[in-house]
Amino acid sequence: MAVPLSYYLILSGFVFLTGVVGVLIRRNIIVILLSVELMLNATNINFVAFSEYFHNVAGQVFVFFALTVAAAEVAVGLAIIIALHRANSSIYVDDLNLLKR
């Protein structure tokens, strides 16, 4: 008895939705980046599930590229957070209103 594909889609949709809500409701930039990781993982689950169900390895190869982009995003994002903390001594998004002032 194999698990139907729709179960994986529901799971990945739920995780992606959690990531979206996390990006919207959190004030801490680090947790916002963690929520972006959640969304990337949801797409990866989708890719691997479709790759298994359609017998196409290309889906797993795309997970590699998503992983590369995630690593690059984390490196640059955390560097930006460090620079922000040095300039503003705050990493809460509602304190960062330089362009509004």
Binding site: S6, F14, T18, I25, L34, Y53, H55, F64
Partner: protein
């Protein structure tokens, strides 16, 4: 048997992803994400993507999450007292998207409930991925290395302390 494993991994993934968003201490959020990464790796094993499971643990849990924890410790982040002001908007959006997903899945129940046939891949998972990656996707692979190089240089320049002073 497959169902038991799937529901275990899916349940833990769902709960820990909720915890990542809901916990107020960033260290706890990062640790919840660590548990989620391990269970996603387990889900990959049940989907016959063993190599990706290993990469998931090594890269995500080993490298990316350690980087997060390092920055959390470095910046001495406090616990968040409250959520962002756009919490009602986010809740509305979440409920809307959730109902949309449920409606779509109810409508397409027959199409989406496909089950896998017999696997056609005879050689090992790692070998197959390597063959596809280094033949069909050779150019994207090289571009990915370029992205990593740019990210490395960008991270060094952004996080270096006195680089802004010398520019001004």
């Amino acid at each position: 048997m497959d169902h038991i494993f799937f529901f275990y991994f899916a349940g833990v993934i769902a709960v820990t992803s909720l915890l990542v968003v809901a916990l107020r201490n960033p260290v706890y959020s990062a640790l919840a994400l660590l548990i989620m990464f391990f269970h996603v790796a387990g889900l990959y094993v049940t989907l016959h993507a063993e190599f990706l499971a290993a990469v998931q643990i090594v890269v995500y849990a080993g490298a990316i999450l350690v980087l997060y924890l390092f920055v959390v410790m470095l910046l001495n982040v406090k616990t968040e007292e409250r959520y962002h002001n756009q919490l009602p908007v986010a809740g509305l959006l979440g409920v809307m998207l959730c109902t949309e997903v449920i409606l779509l899945l109810i409508q397409s129940r027959t199409a989406a409930s496909a089950v896998p046939g017999d696997p056609v891949i005879t050689s090992g998972n790692t070998e197959t991925i390597g063959e596809v990656l280094y033949s069909t996707y050779l150019f994207p692979f090289e571009v990915a290395s370029l992205i990593l190089l740019v990210a490395m240089i960008g991270a060094i320049i952004l996080a270096k302390k006195d680089i802004g002073d010398t520019v001004q």
